[in-house]
């Protein structure tokens, strides 16, 4: 059901309610204030909007100003006061909100419409659902037979660089970063006049699936943009894993990583431009991971 349908149904229900009970509603409004529940304009503050670097809640501190200045340097849950031995209500709620965001990032799927809007088609690993994905890491590193066939059909053969996006452990990360990260990366490669293959999206993908993709497409460099395991500071962090001529079974040390890509870390657009340069160096030096000195 899309939003429009939902809206139509709600409008219908409301209309029916009004038709049946317009008189009592009027009576309610006429009642003296205080007796009936009141409807106010406005919203409950969104606690996830709070920048915890600026949040200092200790009562009667020795030197709160200094603590607050120190705290501004890092998003840590310190200086948030306490109620007896426990957290205060607000930090407790913030903690749970952050934890929920992390859980959502792991358990939700990336919106397929969103992926298509980025110009990406979708293939899947051998995982059939999220549970399998989380419990069977090995299957997240292998493409399904259908995926292999699709890639063979749709992808440009032997490109210099193959880029793809994977959900990894954070669907929120894909939604938050790809609209800036991917075009900036493609533009960077374009400005270096480096040939790029057909980009796509891998559902239930782990980092290791890049090795099979590298072999399949015959790319010199393969680069995956993948959601990082979320934490309590951000659920939107993304990494780029990049390897020169990746092969199935190669040592992990052959991957070069750029991590911490999100709006409060390395901003995605700038990260894209940076990754393009790393790829350029990788192509020149014909090496990646610990073999490549950047």
């Amino acid at each position: 059901m899309n939003e429009k349908d939902l809206r139509t149904i709600i409008e219908q229900v409301l209309a029916e309610m009004n038709a049946g009970g317009s008189a009592p509603a009027a009576a309610c409004c006429a009642a003296p204030a205080g007796e009936a529940s009141q409807v106010e304009e406005g919203c409950i503050p969104d606690i996830t909007e709070i920048d915890i670097r600026t949040q200092y809640l200790v009562e009667e501190p020795e030197n709160g100003e200094e603590y607050a200045e120190l705290k501004f340097n890092a998003p840590c849950r310190l200086g948030i006061g306490k109620a007896g031995a426990r957290y205060k209500t607000l930090p407790q709620l913030e903690f749970r909100a952050a934890h929920s965001a992390a859980q959502d990032a792991v358990f939700n799927d990336v919106d397929e419409e969103f992926v298509k809007a980025q110009g990406l088609f979708i293939v899947q690993t051998q995982c059939d659902c999220k549970d399998t994905y989380l419990t069977r890491p090995d299957l997240g590193r292998k493409l399904s037979a259908e995926a292999v066939a699709t890639l063979k059909e749709k992808c440009k053969k032997n490109p210099t660089v193959q880029i793809y996006v994977a959900d990894g452990l954070s669907s929120a990360s894909v939604a938050a970063n790809i609209p800036d990260l991917l075009p900036a990366l493609l533009q960077g490669l374009q400005s270096f006049k480096i040939d790029v293959g057909t980009p796509f999206f891998v559902k239930y993908g782990r980092v290791g699936v890049m090795d099979e993709i590298s072999e399949l497409t015959g790319a010199d460099v393969t680069c995956t943009l993948i959601g990082e395991r979320p934490g309590l500071i951000t659920a939107e962090s993304m990494s780029a894993y990049i390897a020169y001529k990746a092969t199935v079974g190669m040592p992990e040390a052959r991957r070069t990583v750029v991590s911490n890509i999100h709006r409060a870390g390395t901003i995605p657009a700038e990260a894209g431009a940076h990754i393009a340069e790393i790829i350029k160096i990788m192509l020149e030096k014909k090496a990646s991971g610990t073999d490549l000195k950047l």
Binding site: L181, Q187, G188, S191, A269, A273
Partner: protein
Amino acid sequence: MNYLHEVILSVGIDIGTSTTQLIFSRLTIENQASSYMVPRINIVDKEVIYRSEIYFTPLRSATEIDAEAVKRIVREEYRAAGITPEELKTGAVIITGETARKENANEVLSALSDLAGDFVVATAGPDLESVLSGRGAGTDVLSKQRRITVANLDIGGGTTNIALYEKGNLRGTCCLDVGGRLIKVDNGRISYVYPKIQALAKAHGIEVQVGDRAYPEQLYGVCRLMAAQLAQALHLTAADGQHAGMYTNDGRALPPQPAVQAVTYSGGVADCIYQKMENDVFRFGDVGVLLGKAIRADPDLSRVELCQAAETIRATVVGAGTHTTEVSGSTIRYERSKLPIKNIPILKVSPEDEASLETLKASIIQQMPLFTPEGKAEQIAIAFTGEKRTSFAEVQALAAAVIKSAKEVIQGPYPLIVVVENDIGKVLGNALNVLLEHKKDVICIDGIKTLSGDYIDIGEPIAGGQVLPVVIKTLIFNS
């Protein structure tokens, strides 16, 4: 990013009212980000490795610097230190105090910066001098570590440069005509009096004339008046009728807030403040010793804590040699063959004008004629913060706006230079390159804060090409 650190050599040369000095220092540059993150390259250590002797600044006449003699000093000190200009990656030549008012100051500066090394830049101006001496004296670090507001007073021969720091952040600078050599003494007689000081003394009933016998008690009285002016400059006491006229070139005063809690002193007179000097008070042929004594005894200046400066007479030269260079952000875009570039005026788009792309374009178009005298495009750098324009689409729109409004630069012979504060240098540089179809050299750096009226120097890449050394100069002379 596996590279650990790189050491570069820097020189500082200070040609002041009374002394000329030179230092060499080692700047250590390191990537402070972990190996799987985008590099974050900073200057992590600064060490002075060679200090020259302190020379009297050679003058050919009252209005002219003896350029040849200055060059000789520089050449000999390079030889004594065993350092060649080719080894120097950065540095600054600074003309300070009254010397900056000499007729051939500019000429001497450019001659020296060529002699000193490829990317040794020439600079002057009282604001910058205040900042450099404050940093050289270690006042910024002191105020940061102790979390207090500290002023450094760099008291030289001709001027006193004040820089005010609150918890490590610069809060204001000012420059007064107060110095040790504004009255000179030769053979027991006054041989020179700076007119402003003469007027200050006269306003308080003290007559000092060239040719008069130099009485220590009388000149101490004049020095007490100068010390009182310094206390007024720090807002430790109310300004008197003469105070407004004491600022160099009708410059401005320090802001009244934050209130100063401690002071450090640097410059030639500083040693006369920190140490008691007895015997012949005119041993330097001036009133420096008396001025130091007057400052130490001033009741208003004594109300704030006196802290030891890290450098005294060498504060400015150490500041010039070790604290002028910063490094750009490590994700930037540039054309190596176009570097280094020096003395580029900055066309700054104000934060208010940056709010919309329309006002940004209008701001660049309006300011452009200031930088294109007689319609001829000169090399300029366009600067803004880039704040809040971080999405890919916004960066593209920003690049398009810059290209549209900077036609003169794009059609002209010089590269397009863009300087931003926010970390978008590389993606913006790419966008400019692609939009210009690679037909124009683009230098786009980030991590650099600029103000309208600044000049920028950009050196050759360091740290494996990841960053560029940058010197921002606040004004070339105070005119």
